[in-house]
């Protein structure tokens, strides 16, 4: 199994290089340069030309690319044009917030979706299955932002159960005070994005169970005299969880793109909100760094799925 993981990580290296190249080209194609908005437009063009020369902007593109890549390796993502602070420090705090929100959201998604998928698959065409299908149609059809705003309005404004914005209360003090305040701020956005994110997991699990129930190996297990409950948990369920594991990478990517909407609605200071804000402010250096980061996280998500798959499915392990 370790061979599979190692091989998979090695494959990631060229993927990362291609990603960085794409992001670099994208950045180069954006209008303006580091001087845009930074210096007095009345400055002597000669001075600008000299500065450009000093900053290496006249070097061949591949020299610039290598330098940029070298800086990346040292954690230097450049300066934000707008905020005038290093992009790395700007992103770090937001990334931590998004990480917790996504983690909580993915855990809640599985906590909600797996029992639903099991129930629907087990009682195929029964009332449980039919109510879950209706629920699925609704969560699949309703636009995320409408759902979030409705949730925010109902549980935040009207009922006042949860805070309506931010990631931590200003009045929270002490380690635990801040910790619980953060959790409190996370709960509503995490639950809402979990509910709307269950559709695919429920459907995959339901279909997996329905398909696996009639497989020959299940009949073999029954012919051995294995009780139905054990046949279900040990044979049917485990095989039905495969597509969900395969889908994990996709789930992570979905959470990242979903974070843009939910963080915007909840004014939650995370990467998604930073991304939208940066677009609004045309903060290209931050945008470039974020695009790179989203790309890396997508690759990592897929890596995680593959590793989990290789743990539970012996067929895809490299010999």
């Amino acid at each position: 199994m370790w061979k599979t993981v190692l091989r998979r990580i090695l494959i990631m290296i060229p993927q990362l290089l291609i990603l960085s190249l794409l992001v670099f080209v994208l950045a180069k194609m954006m209008p303006g340069d580091p001087f845009t908005g930074m210096i007095n437009p009345n400055s002597d063009p000669k001075t600008i030309a000299r500065l450009k020369q000093e900053m290496g902007l006249n070097d061949a593109p591949w020299v610039q690319y290598c330098r940029w890549l070298g800086n990346l390796m040292h954690g230097d993502l450049g300066q934000s044009y707008i905020q005038k602070v290093p992009v790395a420090s700007l992103i770090w705090d937001r990334a931590v917030n998004t990480f917790w929100l996504s983690l909580m959201s993915v855990i809640l998604t599985y906590l909600i979706a797996i029992p639903m998928g099991i129930s629907a698959g087990r009682h195929q065409d029964g009332w449980q299955d039919q109510s879950i299908q209706v629920f699925n149609y609704i969560t699949f059809a309703i636009p995320a932002f409408v759902f979030y705003i409705l949730g925010l309005w109902l549980f935040g404004f009207t009922l006042g159960w949860f805070p309506i914005s931010g990631s931590v209360s200003d009045t929270a003090t002490g380690f635990w005070g801040i910790f619980f305040s953060r959790i409190y701020h996370l709960i509503l956005p995490a639950i809402l994005s979990a509910i709307i994110g269950t559709t695919a997991t429920v459907q995959y699990l339901r279909t997996g169970i329905v398909d696996n129930k009639v497989e020959d190996y299940v009949r073999t297990a029954r012919s051995k005299g294995v009780p139905d409950r054990v046949v279900f948990n040990k044979h049917i369920l485990r095989n039905s969880l495969l597509p969900i594991a395969a889908f994990l990478g996709n789930t992570i990517t979905g959470l990242l793109s979903g974070s843009m909407i939910i963080e915007q609605v909840f004014s939650y200071p995370g990467m998604g909100k930073l991304f939208l804000d940066s677009i609004g402010q045309r903060d290209y250096s931050t945008l470039t760094a974020l695009i790179l980061l989203f790309g890396i996280l997508t690759l990592v998500g897929n890596l995680l799925s593959d590793i989990i798959m290789s743990i539970i499915d012996p067929r895809i392990r490299v010999q």
């Binding site: 009949r219 012919s223 051995k224 005299g225 294995v226 009780p227 485990r238 095989n239 539970i312 012996p314």
Partner: protein, 335 residues
């Protein structure tokens, strides 16, 4: 006394019906069969004739919502029809072992094959983990698997079709069952492997003195292994006798047609005999008259019984309908 305990399974008036669009249709229609110790009973017939239905009825593995089983399947005075699930689970895998057709699909792809055999032992014996492991190794030796210790830890996809079928057989015989049901055990295998698997089944039977029900459409398999043969057509048994009689003096038109459509290697010039038409589907099965009549239209209707019954034409030789007395092949009539 000895004679009586030789009877392992007594199937009487078995009707197994499947629900199709709200109505039940008999897929096995009034089946009577017996299986004795040390006997291989072959059930032969085309696809869809109901032979696998009998197997799933015996072992109680059918969709209970959409299947209706009536009649008696007596195993040691115990009627398996309508037996409750927890009692049945004590019999399945323990007293009745089952071997399936497709050895790849019959094994859980995510479990090591050794564990899949050990699972049977876990539910039917008091063995601890070490004992179960040793017993699996013993079984792997018995079914002729090379390097059993190594095989224990392998996954189904790492084994060849023949080896997988040996694992399936090891599962079926793990608890030394009295009855082994083999549902097309060699159909999915290469011809060379087929012979090995059949030899293996015969060896196992000699060792364990079990009774084997061999379900197959392959008359070669029947000739090679069976003691008793039941020929099925459209859910009914049309002829039943010992293997020698069936192959040497077949009476029912269907049995004769089947035997006649077997390729003969010593005569390559003659065209293969083909039985006209196809087996009617479950829904369109004629419920009155001789079900095979439609496929031998040159035989006049008067030759068939109105309600064909099984007749014992000589001791131990049963044939349905009386039309066999007037049966001849079409080619013969046109000559």
């Amino acid at each position: 006394m000895e004679k009586q305990s030789d009877l392992l399974l007594d199937i009487e008036h078995l009707h197994t019906a499947y629900r199709l669009q709200g109505k039940f249709y008999d897929a096995a229609d009034d089946v009577n069969l017996t299986l004795k110790r040390d006997e291989i009973l072959a059930i032969v017939g085309e696809s869809g004739c109901g032979k696998s239905t009998i197997a799933s009825s015996i072992i109680g593995l059918y969709d209970h919502k959409n299947t209706r089983v009536t009649g008696d399947i007596l195993y040691n005075e115990l009627n398996l029809v309508g037996l409750n699930e927890s009692l049945f689970n004590q019999i399945r895998g323990n007293k009745i072992g089952m071997i399936f057709q497709d050895p790849l699909a019959s094994l859980n792809p995510l479990m090591r094959v050794g564990d899949q055999v050990a699972e049977t032992l876990y539910y039917h014996t008091d063995m601890n983990e070490k004992q179960r492991h040793d017993r699996v190794i013993e079984l792997f030796n018995q079914v002729g698997m090379p390097r059993p210790e190594e095989m224990f830890n392998m996954y189904p996809h790492e084994l060849s079709g023949g080896l997988r079928q040996r694992v399936v057989i090891a599962i079926a015989i793990a608890c030394k069952p009295e009855i082994i049901i083999a549902d097309e055990p060699t159909t999915a295998l290469d011809v060379t492997i087929q012979a090995q698997i059949l030899d293996l089944l015969e060896d196992i039977q000699k060792e364990t003195h079990s009774g084997i029900i061999m379900i197959t459409h392959d008359l070669g398999v029947v000739a090679e292994t069976a003691d008793q043969v039941a020929v099925m057509y459209a859910g009914q048994i049309v002829e039943k006798s010992d293997v020698k009689t069936v192959f040497e003096h077949p009476l029912h038109p269907y049995t004769r047609s089947l035997l006649n459509s077997m390729p003969q290697s010593d005569d390559e010039t003659e065209d293969l005999h083909v039985i006209q038409g196809t087996v009617p589907s479950l829904k369109n099965m004629p419920r009155e008259g001789d079900r095979f009549a439609a496929r031998i239209p040159w035989i006049p209707a008067s030759a068939h019984e109105e309600e064909p019954k099984i007749h014992e034409v000589e001791p131990g030789h049963f044939v349905r309908c009386t039309c066999w007395q007037d049966f001849h092949f079409e080619q013969e009539s046109s000559k």
